[in-house]
């Protein structure tokens, strides 16, 4: 990891000493943030560190481990073109705070994660399905969802 990334991680861990855990990654600085501090961390990342560009919200299902889900956020600093990744670990019936109030671009990606993984984003303006039909049952990218096609005959 570059010197610049090390400095950034140092600054962040000093600012949020209890909420951050720096994790190993091969490409870009990555931290795991506690759910309670996620919104404050996001706000800080955008307004102080300048990561104003929001790329995507991803999710990973580590079934049957606990906590089961990992919500992954990708952000970009558009001037230095630095990328940054932060994750939040939650269990099945927990919710993560929505970061739409910080980055409006998170709106649709969060709906996608809700649609396919069933992750609830608290405070999202319109948390409805985005790809699948509204009356769909279940969340198909979960590990316990049946993998085969739905045969009618």
């Amino acid at each position: 990891m570059s010197e610049r990334s090390e400095e950034l991680l140092d600054r962040l861990t000093q600012r949020f000493p209890d909420a951050l855990e720096v994790v190993e990654s091969i490409d870009q600085p990555t931290v795991v943030v506690k759910r309670e501090e996620l919104l404050a961390f996001a706000e800080h990342l955008k307004s102080v560190e300048g990561y104003v560009m929001f790329n995507d919200v991803l999710a990973a299902d580590w079934f049957p481990a606990h906590p089961r889900f990992e919500v992954i956020y990708q952000v970009v600093h558009p001037e230095s073109w630095q990328r940054f990744r932060f994750k939040c670990r939650i269990d099945e019936h927990e919710a993560v705070p929505s970061v739409v109030s910080v980055w409006p671009g998170a709106n649709w990606p969060e709906r996608e994660a809700y649609d396919l993984f069933g992750i609830v984003f608290e405070g999202h303006p319109q948390l409805t399905r985005i790809y699948l039909p509204d009356d769909w049952e279940g969340h198909p990218l979960r590990k316990d969802y049946p993998t085969g096609g739905n045969r009618i005959d």
Binding site: L132, P133, P140, Y145, G148, G149, I152, D153
Partner: protein, 172 residues
């Protein structure tokens, strides 16, 4: 001045047939497909009208953007659960008689997409007359299917949806 032809000359210019045969010939010679390209099979479907394969030889080159002007629906590609009601609506909007070709493995059986998102065979949604195997089928294969369909029309066999509705008799 040659305007009054003799009886022998007139008979040379007459063809005897039945109305049904004539209608069927007209029908099979202008089977206009609706554009329903859903995936990579559509690329092969497009090339079948190009100069190398030249589907115009059989009168089926006129792909219509409106289902109301089409006789044949070529389902070219995988049908997702969300596309199924759209496909059914378009099929219902086509004037009768109408035919369906299921092109490729995905449209016929779901193909490799054995998952939640894809209909496992378009015959769950619309009645299919001809299935074309292949992934994707070559333009020749699609053309063969259209020729088979022409044979079916020429023989007076009813389209699949009429067959399923119990009207499985020959129309003449």
């Amino acid at each position: 001045m040659g305007l009054n032809s003799t009886r022998a000359e007139a008979e040379r210019g007459i063809l005897l047939t039945t109305v049904e045969k004539m209608t069927r010939w007209a029908q099979k010679s202008s089977v206009w497909p609706a554009t329903f390209g859903l995936a990579c099979c559509a690329i092969e479907m497009m090339s079948v009208t190009s100069s190398r394969y030249d589907l115009a030889r059989f009168g089926s080159e006129a792909f219509r953007a409106s289902p109301r002007q089409a006789d044949l629906m070529i389902v070219a590609g995988r049908v997702s659960q969300k596309m199924a009601p759209v496909l059914r609506t378009i099929w219902e909007q086509m004037p009768e008689p109408k035919w369906v070709i299921s092109m490729g493995a995905c449209a016929s059986s779901g193909g490799v997409f054995d998952n939640y998102a894809i209909i496992q065979g378009v015959d769950h949604v619309v009645p299919v007359d001809v299935y074309v195997p292949g992934c994707p089928p070559t333009p020749d294969a699609l053309m063969f299917a259209i020729l088979k369909l022409r044979e079916k029309i020429q023989m007076g066999l009813p389209p699949k949806y009429l067959e399923l509705a119990g009207e499985g008799r020959r129309t003449s």
